[in-house]
Symmetry: C2
Amino acid sequence: MTDQKAPTTIWEDPELPGFRFEATPCPAHGKARLGWLQTPHGVVETPAFIFCGTKANVKAVPMSSVKSTGTQIILSNTYHLMLQPGSQIVADHGGLHKFSGWDGPFLTDSGGFQVFSLAHGGVADEIKSARKTERPKKDVLRITEEGVAFRSYIDGSRVMLTPESSIRVQRQLGADIILTFDECTPFHVDRNYTEASLARTQRWTERSIASYLQPVDDYAPRHGSAGAQGLYGISQGGVYPDLRKRAAETLRTQPFFGYAVGGSLGNSKSQMYEVVEFASEGLHCEKPIHLLGIGGIEDIFRCVPYGIDTFDCVSPTRAARHGWALVPAQIAADCGVHKREPALNLRNATFRHDVTPIDPDCPCEACRTVSRSYLHHLLKARETLAQILLTMHNIATMNRVMADVRAGLAGGSLEPARRIWLGG
Amino acid sequence: MTDQKAPTTIWEDPELPGFRFEATPCPAHGKARLGWLQTPHGVVETPAFIFCGTKANVKAVPMSSVKSTGTQIILSNTYHLMLQPGSQIVADHGGLHKFSGWDGPFLTDSGGFQVFSLAHGGVADEIKSARKTERPKKDVLRITEEGVAFRSYIDGSRVMLTPESSIRVQRQLGADIILTFDECTPFHVDRNYTEASLARTQRWTERSIASYLQPVDDYAPRHGSAGAQGLYGISQGGVYPDLRKRAAETLRTQPFFGYAVGGSLGNSKSQMYEVVEFASEGLHCEKPIHLLGIGGIEDIFRCVPYGIDTFDCVSPTRAARHGWALVPAQIAADCGVHKREPALNLRNATFRHDVTPIDPDCPCEACRTVSRSYLHHLLKARETLAQILLTMHNIATMNRVMADVRAGLAGGSLEPARRIWLGG
């Protein structure tokens, strides 16, 4: 640990009212920093977890509960919302905030990730795993310099997504933070493909920026249906350090409010951390950095020291819907569970007679009011309430993890928090 | 309207601590009364709606929302809970209240209704409709003087339900209000069957009372796992006035805290109201009367003047899960809907662009925070949140209906409330 106190940085763009990122370096943990990310719809204390609200709702919980479990910011999906209900309907409401009833900050992705999942077949899983074969292309019709044509999964109609249309849709959706349109390359493609893809993503990035800086439809430059929007540029380049460096060098010259690390991060956890490290190294400055689609508890403790400020991942809410409750490592160990990411499978018969709460220290409604036995009963009876209560619990838990991470950074060491949540 | 003020009655049983029913007659509306039903877990202002919480949860809403939408009391089912998780597990928690996290009053039925639905095939629907043919018996193995043997729908095992076991299970569940074990006769059976069935129900009622007045398992007389329990006796006798009268005469001599009207109520709405009228007439005294399984808005306005104090029905919560929102008659009319029970089907494409709330006067989360268009989107996208928000809305709405009924009775006329909720 160094005693030298690094100065707090403040990043503001005079053309972006309502946005500001204040970051205090925590030199005991590399590039880690404690941040204060201000948006027109509220502040996000970082490091933070961004919860998945794909279709303008966090699956299985009302927004009042999303808020009461400590959530700061939600991510919604351009790809899904442009197909249903259509971004014009969201704009008619005055943007995602009024549409969904979530009045805090929103981030939307650009649609690139979902469209290329269609093209490459399941890239979502593959980015984090080792599958190397290409699956048959499903609903993508054509990828050209112009953009991507695909079939709507709603009605089979032909849809075109381009940098310009992605930005137009994101302006209508009106999220506080929006992303450039990129090709999200999977692991199984080779270096040549990755390099050519990066070059195209860079051209798409220029076009995304141009759209963002021009009036589009009824919106002023840098504005969407709910006010000013901060644009994040996405780093691609796969697992190749020189490509990631090239990506970062260009991104650093462009007028972004922040950055996001996307694309293939390797075929193992250790390679993933390496790639995040060198990809974020090139981006590191006074602007916020988001890590796309990654947010396991171990990932968070590993990547915060590389300067990652925000994470998103479907896993806490998806796991909840399948009966899994995230818990501190000691609680998992007490239940005989020794997983890399401590969690209890409440469908397990061992919980049938367990009258204790999931976690007595958790402030969520499930832990305050019912037992593991009751949740086990609801799961066996296939009652929706199981999904509701467990989603609330996992959201509350991820928010406690992040609060512990921030407290650890403020106190000079992540180690106590790491031990609580990962054990060892 | 008569000007003569009828006296408030107070009913207390010295052997039932925590119970009291105070009722103020409303002579402008027949036998209607405003009541204050005190139980060990809180007060129910009557007329009241009892929401269905079959498996110790109100489907698709957390108990915090059940409470915040104005709910006073929940009904759970002996039949379902004895099969899963088993009443011993509920007792191990200290009863349904602690098990489910609902700390207000609970009522449990005796299991008779569900078991005889198996025997007679869909009696649940038939009681309110005109089906006259007998469906094949499904899982009921044998009905004898002793009780009913049936197969568990969970694991196919053979289960016996008798008056004694029903009371034992209900003591373990620990609801504030429990019911005697009865045979719920459907409409298609003849008078002879109904008469013989009533006689058996009367013998089962005697045995239910005997169990209730004796220590059972670890429980003192009149007590269950969560304290004192008030026993309601059930009126049977089908559509036959003399049998209903016979039932009532016997029930009036027995040590019940209240009564419930059950069984076949005819093959049309008008016959149903007639049966409720003469069935409740015989029971009318200072004790509360519950109408089993009936609780449409029209039913409530028709049956309150017959002296019915509480209603239960799955329909508001079930309809919500299918996309229907209950609304005042004027709102339905404005949407071109002219149903007997005003409601909007939010799956309908007319709501796709409708940025207004379901009902601007409704205090529920759905109406305060999102539009019909958003709910339509969630329904089309098959998001669970649609069920959650609409269930909250329909609960809030039924509770507003009942509050308007009580205010109408207090003010001397049900007519303004009837016009708001049913139109005309």
